[in-house]
Symmetry: C2
């Protein structure tokens, strides 16, 4: 708008990121981002919850942190305690629970707690980009842990820790998403969980457990207890309301014993997480969590089915999907000859955005033929049309897939 009247170029600090572009609305086929299904927001339930909780506690809004301390609204912490005990086997008093401004703030805080430049951090070989970016920004070197359809391969990790030790390297922590892994959507079995904790204790490596997707399980799927439930003494637990309810509400939580919590709290620099978001979610979920999640997970599973059917139809045998046990994304492997990074631009020109594998992996070596597609936000028709468009773009760029919907291309 207005021109500057001083030379800001002389004033900027060193090492600023590139300027942001002007914001543009989402393209037609938006298969990225941890968004949810807009039709599943319980609008009337949130309105009732807002009225009820504001009449009871609204006057407290006049005070920073509601006058109740920096760890968050006690009603929401109690809900987290109850939910995590019932569903994840975690026994934690609300003094060990911190509400964060999204799980991203928890990621920031825990990273700052543990990472010095040059430290080694172990992450799953395919891994949440937002976590890897944060670790790398603090100067961490990432080492990828081998995954199979059930998550971390323990024998490989044991060897990796021994090898690192032989080099004199003690990793600071193991970052893992054991329940609905991002992006493979697997669940780590109980025996592997015990073995993982044994290794962490043996090598004095902390476990950073991210369970942002653990509420999104398909009906009939059972997850073993959280790692934190098995040994709170070496695990820091992270959770979120972004996936179970709504990401525009910035609400996550950290569970950790007081030794860790007392170190984390000074790193929460925002004078408290937004109180209305906290209060309304506490009130709504205290009464409606099971029914909301039961319904939401049914809807998400249908959308996944729509997406896997579309991928099978459009890509045929060229695409190999990991089988999600819940969540909002599908991790797809294409033939090794394809580098998905070359598809990004032509896909964008066709209105398609997806996560190229190398952005969701420690190394491009075993991920350049992989991609992540998110299915919670788009409608079923958009999923069908978008996957078909993506197959068309892929064929035009690579000659693969040769057949779509049992019909040869060309």
């Amino acid at each position: 708008m207005s021109a500057t009247t001083i030379d800001y170029g002389k004033l900027y600090s060193a090492g600023l990121p590139d300027p942001a572009p002007r914001w543009a609305p989402f393209p037609k086929y938006y298969f990225v981002g941890g968004n949810n299904d807009p039709e599943q927001i319980p609008i009337e339930g949130l309105i009732e919850a807002a009225a009820s909780v504001l009449r009871r506690d609204g006057s407290k809004l006049a005070i920073y942190n509601l006058g109740l301390g920096p760890q968050g609204y006690p009603g929401l912490r109690q809900f987290v305690a109850d939910k995590c005990e019932r569903q994840r086997g975690i026994k934690a008093p609300i003094e060990d629970i911190l509400i964060t401004t999204g799980s991203g703030q928890g990621l920031d805080m825990i990273s700052k707690l543990l990472v010095n430049p040059g430290d080694t951090v172990l992450t799953e070989e395919y891994c949440y980009q937002g976590a890897m970016n944060r670790f790398r920004k603090l100067g961490a070197k990432l080492a990828g842990m081998k995954l199979d359809g059930d998550g971390i391969v323990i024998e490989a990790l044991a060897q990796q820790l021994a090898d690192l030790k032989a080099q004199g390297i003690t990793p600071k922590f193991i970052y893992t998403i054991p329940t609905i892994q991002n992006p493979t959507a697997s669940i780590l079995p109980l025996d592997r969980r015990h073995a993982l904790i044994k290794l962490a204790r043996e090598y004095n490596v902390a476990i950073f457990e991210d369970e942002c997707y653990a509420d999104l399980l398909w009906e009939g799927v059972e997850a073993p207890p959280a790692l934190y439930a098995l040994d709170p003494g070496c695990v820091i637990h992270l959770g979120s309301f972004s996936k179970s309810l709504a990401p525009a509400l910035r609400l996550g939580y950290v569970i950790a014993g007081w030794e860790i919590m007392s170190r984390l709290l000074p790193l929460k620099g925002d004078s408290g997480t937004g109180a209305l978001d906290q209060m309304v979610v506490a009130e709504y979920f205290s009464r409606n969590f099971d029914s909301h999640l039961g319904h939401l997970n049914g809807v998400l599973r249908e959308k996944l089915n729509t997406m896997t059917e579309a991928v099978e139809r459009e890509f045929g045998s060229s695409a190999e999907c990991w089988t999600p046990k819940g969540g909002i994304f599908l991790w797809i492997k294409l033939p090794a000859s394809i580098d998905v990074r070359k598809l990004v631009k032509p896909a964008a020109e066709a209105g398609i955005v997806f996560n190229p594998g190398p952005e969701w992996a420690v190394s491009a070596d075993n991920s350049s033929n992989c991609l992540r597609l998110c299915f919670a936000m788009p409608s079923k028709q958009t999923i069908r049309d978008g996957v078909a468009e993506l197959a068309r773009v892929c064929y035009e760029q690579t000659g693969i897939p040769l057949r779509s919907g049992n019909v040869a291309r060309q």
Copy 2:
């Protein structure tokens, strides 16, 4: 709670802050913190606003940033644009407005934008602690600008800039709270505003204008236009909803031209500000801002009167108060022989917390006999009782004030 099963001491990063103490409820006489009057939270108004805005836009909660981009809920940005044009003379399109997670996030971002270690930053000699702490944490050296009852003394600043230039030092920015200065609660007159901008342009120094308290003006008090209104080309403007409505809602805003905004946006690391807080405040204030503020400012002025009367009664001629033109705090000067830092502990033992001058000033040299008392949250009776208790503590520690309520002590 649970003991650790690994040695976290080997894992913590370098330079962590001290561990947090367990949270304890506020003491009886809590005269610190930017809290508001709990009785003035418009509970029914917020409930109505929540219902109305959720019915209209609630489904958007399913998407990060409501699917509307990283600068915040457009309805709230439009309200900020309208309010700032009407009351502060600012003409800014909503593209130049960023909603932040409290004004504290804006402070963080603007500091990171401009401060390299070793840089000089000019702040008012008596200054908001949260701002000074942030600048210092990034390695800035603070230089205090002389204040009188109308804010920055321009002649002194001109000399200071010339002296700095002679030493080869160009300050990065001038941080100022021109409208209800914190802690002196003064308002900078129009001619000084023009002169300040002239100096900023002459010396190529940015102006960081913090107007967190500018909505809290006593009836009949007129503030000149914001510095940003006078020259958006060298000013970055910061505002807040913490003081006009509620600090537990974490909502502030930055106004800046696109060159600056595009540099600030990548520094907002929280994936968006809490949406429900934004939506409800937009809806409520779009309809009720003037009536809410008119009423709130009347209540605050009465509380200020209660406090100044109590200070006069209890401290007599030993206390000299700056005369607030609005806001929520009173800046008091005691005789030069008193070091208020020595009162902190005995006051705390009597249940009193206040801001000792040196924490609210660039230097202890001219502030060790000053203190800041906040009056918005405590009741009038608490204000009266607490000030009387503080005078008693002060007398016991220093022999001053000799008389309280026209009665000699001893």
